[in-house]
Amino acid sequence: MKESLGTTGLILNEPLLWGKGKKGRRAFSLPRRDVETFLLNEDLTGEGPDFPDLSEVDVVRHYTRLSTWNFGVDTGMYPLGSCTMKYNPKTNERQASLPGLAGAHPLLPGSLSQGTLRMMFELERYLSEITGMDAVSLQPAAGAHGEFTGMLLIYAYHKSKGERRSKIIVPDTAHGTNPASATLCGYQSIPVKSNEEGILSPEAVAKVMDEDTAGIMVTNPNTLGLFEENIKEIAEIVHSKGGQVYCDGANMNAVMGIVHMGEIGIDVLHLNLHKTFSTPHGGGGPGCGPVCVRKHLEPFLPVPRVIEENGIYSLSEDIPESIGRLHAFYGNFGVMIKAYSYILSMGANLKKASQLAVLNANYIKEKLKDVFHLPYDRPCMHECVFSDKIQEANKVTTLDMVKRLMDYGFHPPTIYFPLVVHGAIMIEPTETESKEDIDLFIEALKAIALEAKENPDLLHDAPSRCKVKRLDETTAARKPCLAG
């Protein structure tokens, strides 16, 4: 094996912000005062916030030190399943910070904001081409927001037919956001189990689908990394009872240019620009969760919508059946710029990206399936799911193994999800990892499997090379300390 990536560098300690600084310091150049002081009723004024006063050097060192305790895609491989942690191109950041885009006020008159409107209009068109859907709204601010929007669209669709349905079908492999979004829309989630092959069977769906059921929320490819092969038949069953098919597009990175979502029976789909379209996740957002719909749901899309007439772009509120607004303005525009810039840079290479993402995942699956238990031994899409069944004999769990992976210089995969696999280890390499890096990752996992047999305590005590060791989450939850 090549030399491991993981090592111990010099990790600097850094106190909390308010443990630094001195009254009277400042890291901000206060603008020159060119107006006099005006009277203000003292009853209205408070004492001002109790913030520390820091110098610019204090602030810069503080956040620089903190940043070194983090691991990002730029640091190394981040194979977090269902999160598509692909490389985030730097040119996208540059475009998003262009002064005309970053500095634009959202309520500028249309004549003064043609650039931003055109960009949104075109991005909608590109996303509709990539997914095979007819119309797009970019407004939802993240995936879960997109799911909620999708549920509202389905709700509005039924309402327009004079119906109010009370249930929605959610497979057991779904992300937790799915049932939570359904609840926000007043739907009761009806669980349906996937079959022994890890996918939905039409019979299982037919059993629960009825005329009080608004539709189904599928994730395709699903969270086991498998394509829902029966999707067309399932869609027909749902449609035959007047239901709608919602697709969680979290895993779209597997099928760009390969599957036409509209033609397989999907009525509404959300995308995560912060997954498939390479915008950085920022340690938890901002994301962007556009919804893509077939023609019959277009009248319900959120307002405002960007329209074009004779080369002039404008925002239209004149959508009488619209579900309304979901964001104060138009959503996370800054994130849209990055996705737009990515699509313009990639062009038709997007299909190649999906192909390589799937190649990488299958390669890992083949290389590791003798070392870790593979609950569904079938060709996978862009991610593969193992479990800790083999290592259980040595009293080593998934958690122990992935914590040890940190010592080898990799971010852990997604663990204990999907819930249908006990001790799941869900690996999504993405297309931007090279064969050499993937080989190194495979070697590390093999070494860990060996350690699990020979020296399990090494794993129980892992990680040993990070800023901190395992943390006491029980006390954190029993006696929450949420502010200093």
Binding site: E473, T474, A477, R478
Partner: protein, 134 residues
């Protein structure tokens, strides 16, 4: 996690399939969760309990118990009015782990129909049921 043979299943309480226990006392019934339930959940960090005076039917949800990464609903073994709740759990939810049948009790109920207790399992029956779950 404990082996089934290591579980503490006292005989002076009756059990439900959802792993609550109920112990008849003078005019009331004390209720908590079994050793098996606390062991499965792991370190308990929060117990949400009802208000005194509320009434619930047997099988109805009366609260939740949380570990760091899981939430379980609590169901009434017998119906009735809540007479008391264990306020010590607010500060020390870990009592449910340390002493599930004594200091870690959850609520005290005035049963609407004491005969409902007869529908619950004895410790032997509960042990058999747990073996079946394995």
């Amino acid at each position: 996690m404990k082996e089934i043979s290591d579980l503490n299943l006292p005989e002076d309480v009756c059990y439900t399939e959802d792993h609550e226990w109920a112990r008849p006392e003078d005019d009331s019934v004390r209720i908590g969760i079994s050793d098996y339930a606390q062991d499965q959940l792991g370190d308990i960090v929060f117990v949400e309990l009802p208000e005194i005076g509320d009434t619930y039917e047997a099988g109805e949800e009366f609260g939740t118990v949380e570990s760091v990464k899981a939430v379980s609903e609590l169901y009434m073994p017998v119906g009735g009015e809540i007479l008391a709740v264990n306020l010590d759990l607010e500060e020390s939810p870990g009592l449910v782990n340390e002493s599930p049948y004594n200091d870690g009790w959850m609520i005290e109920v005035k049963p609407g129909d004491p005969a409902e207790l007869d529908d619950l399992m004895t410790s032997d029956a509960y042990l058999e049921a747990l073996k079946g779950e394995e």
